[in-house]
């Protein structure tokens, strides 16, 4: 690998296989590698079913017993995969926290906001003392008044609830913050508030952020770097500006064309023809080949590798940049 920097979160060769009900193995995530530094904001983009949520769940250790997770995941240099249930539990929230997709459902409907955040706060190091103050501080951090602590989830709007979820996630000042589609089902203005809250929360706590979204616009607004996932693999990774303006992989290009931009709302949106592959089903050659406009001879038979494009910072998994002949055996 050309990236030598060691980040706050290091994921190397992550592989997730799920044993399905019929006893078949579904290879949901293949060889996913990325690294996020302290305070850095990293995006994972892709259509639904591309393995981005599965990647997050495996980082949290929340996949069930019939999922096998391989590879390495380090937080500040310490390997966390396979460290045992107790250890994984201890790390949750204090070192690695998550904001889930369902703004409506990720809060317990019968417990007040304050008590739910306080419950989370006790997972951290300085448990016990000043929990109340910490609850109020994180609420403030995401732009909510302290009074919200006394309310129940159903009394808040979707955007407020999602900001509460963010506040709850950073109350223990985790090293890594994962966010799974935090703005789905929110309108544009509320979406902006939630993203601002997310940025503030990360800036304040210095957490490394991994933001998962299907929306290129959201990623572009928040992240420094990003990886594009397709069919369980990273197909391109690089700085966000590069991905937006000089995408190397045809899929990235199509994703960019398909997403609306605040700066150019009148632009005609393209759509990506065809349907995403069925998750976990093995294929010969490049997974994107059936939908690729630039498909050529080797794409159907040889799977491309993730290799640097132009600079070492940008990598793509595409024969256009690395025809099979050039590839190392």
């Amino acid at each position: 690998m050309s990236t030598t920097t060691t980040g706050c979160l290091d994921v190397r060769g992550l592989d997730v296989t799920l044993r399905s009900g019929e006893g078949r193995d579904l290879h949901l995530v293949r060889d996913v590698t990325f690294s996020v530094g302290s305070g850095e904001r990293f995006g994972l983009i892709g259509e639904s079913g591309c393995g981005k949520t599965t990647t997050l769940m495996s980082l949290m250790g929340l996949l069930g017993a019939d999922a096998t997770v391989g590879g390495e995941v380090r937080i500040d240099g310490t390997e966390i995969l396979g460290s045992g249930e107790r250890d994984v539990r201890r790390r949750r929230w204090s070192e690695i926290a998550v904001v889930f997709q369902g703004a409506m459902n990720s809060l317990n409907p019968v417990v007040t906001i304050g008590r739910q955040i306080a419950e989370a706060a006790r997972r951290g190091a300085g448990s016990g003392s000043g929990v109340r103050e910490r609850v109020h501080r994180v609420l403030e951090l995401v732009g909510l008044r302290a009074e919200v602590a006394r309310r129940y989830p159903h009394e808040l709007s979707g955007g407020m609830r999602q900001r509460v979820a963010i506040a709850m996630a950073v109350v223990c000042e985790p090293r890594v913050l994962l966010a799974d589609e935090p703005t789905t089902a929110l309108d544009v203005i509320v979406q902006a508030q939630v993203l601002t809250a997310l940025e503030n929360a990360c800036a304040e706590t210095g957490a490394a952020l991994v933001l998962v979204s299907h929306d290129m616009g959201v990623i572009g607004e928040v992240c420094d770097r990003a990886a594009v996932m397709y069919g369980g693999e990273i197909v391109e990774t690089g700085r966000i500006e590069t991905l937006l303006h000089e995408p190397a992989h045809p899929y990235t290009r199509l994703l960019v064309d398909a997403s609306p931009r605040l700066s150019d709302p009148g632009r005609e949106l393209a759509s990506i023809p065809g349907a995403p592959p069925r998750p976990g089903v093995d294929h010969a050659g490049c997974g994107f080949a059936p939908r690729c406009p630039d498909r050529f001879e080797p794409c159907g038979s040889h799977g491309p590798a993730l290799l640097p494009v132009a600079t070492a910072l940008q990598q793509a998994r595409c024969h256009l940049h690395h025809p099979p002949a050039e590839e190392a055996p």
């Binding site: 929340l62 539990r89 949750r92 929230w93 204090s94 809060l107 007040t112 129940y152 159903h154 979820a165």
Partner: protein, 325 residues
């Protein structure tokens, strides 16, 4: 105040239901084929004099509307007429019966709730596993058995070990309060257990499906992500939410419970409201039958109201929302 308005509306609803039940009660007995007095004269001790008295008492010579108003009037004064059998006011007889039924229904309900909810949690937690299949099959089967038959099987199994009928031992002379209570408890055990076995099945089924729903909710996942022990997550986050629909069901199941109680009181000769309605059928004691029927209906309405109240205490969405959305 929004909550007061909710309570007011619930009370008004219950009031309307009780009025409807009372009216239903009235017409059920008046519209029976033949002259009610003819029906009544079929009672064993029915004399000419009794018939005349009854005709006057019920105002059966008056038009239906007048009868209805009088019926309501008397009812509001707690007057349900006089029992044909023991010539005591129906109300007095019923109060005794209600006092006797309460411990039976109370203990039976407790057994059903503990058994039903416990098994439901287990089934929900291990859904799709053999333990789940076993629990669901057992619950459905127990729920399918006739209550009277369950009572008889228990009688068969425990005859000799536990008293088989009545509420207290007639031959216990001058018992101390402790002795009395112990004796009552021994008599109560089998009928209450029967009621528990009759009722727990449906609680198991609702608790199970409620658990399955709740465990797939995102806040349960969030709680796990927070790093809490699974046991804590189950207890603190899943359980309370899963209990909510069950509370409603328990309230609504009281109608079925009343049916069960009648049959069980007959099996165990328990001198409660159910036994009263049975005895009044046998003796054709219409005022008693009408009164006991009214007690059942009103208690079902009241119990539903109670379950509603419990639900709104447990669920902040109802407690605070103001409207019943």
């Amino acid at each position: 105040m929004a909550p007061l308005r909710v309570i007011g509306r619930r009370l008004a609803g219950a009031g309307v239901l009780i009025w409807l039940a009372v009216t239903f009660d009235f017409f059920l007995f008046r519209l029976a084929p033949g002259n009610p007095v003819d029906q009544m004269s079929r009672i064993p001790q029915g004399s000419r004099q009794l018939q005349d008295q009854l005709t006057r008492e019920f105002g059966l010579d008056q038009p239906m509307v007048v009868q209805y108003v009088r019926y309501l009037e008397q009812l509001s004064q707690g007057n349900l007429g006089v029992s044909f059998v023991n010539r005591q006011p129906v109300t007095d007889n019923l109060i005794d019966a209600i006092v006797n039924t309460l411990p039976l229904v109370g203990l039976g309900l407790l057994i059903a709730i503990v058994l039903g909810i416990g098994l439901g949690i287990l089934a929900g937690a291990y859904r799709g596993r053999p333990i789940d299949h076993g629990a669901v099959t057992l619950a459905t089967f127990m729920y399918s058995l006739p209550p009277q038959w369950i009572g008889m099987v228990l009688l068969f199994l425990f005859a000799g070990t536990l008293p088989t009928g009545g509420m207290v031992d007639q031959f216990l002379i001058d018992p101390t309060p402790t002795q009395y209570l112990a004796d009552l408890g021994r008599h109560l055990l089998l009928p209450a257990l029967t009621l528990g076995l009759v009722m727990f099945g449906q609680y198991t089924l609702i608790m199970r499906s409620s658990m399955v729903e709740t465990l797939s909710d995102d806040y349960v996942l969030t709680a796990r992500a927070k790093g809490f022990r699974p046991r804590y997550v189950l207890r603190r986050h899943a359980l309370r939410n899963a209990l909510l629909p069950t509370v409603t069901l328990i309230g609504l199941s009281i109608g079925a419970m009343v049916g069960g109680a009648i049959l069980i009181e007959v099996v165990f000769s328990w001198p409660g409201v159910g036994r009263t309605i049975y005895d009044s059928i046998v003796a054709r004691d219409y005022p008693m039958m009408q009164g006991a029927f009214l007690v059942f209906t009103v208690s079902v309405v009241l119990f539903n109201l109670l379950a509603d109240a419990a639900y709104s205490l447990l669920d902040p969405r109802v407690r605070r929302a103001g409207a019943a959305r």
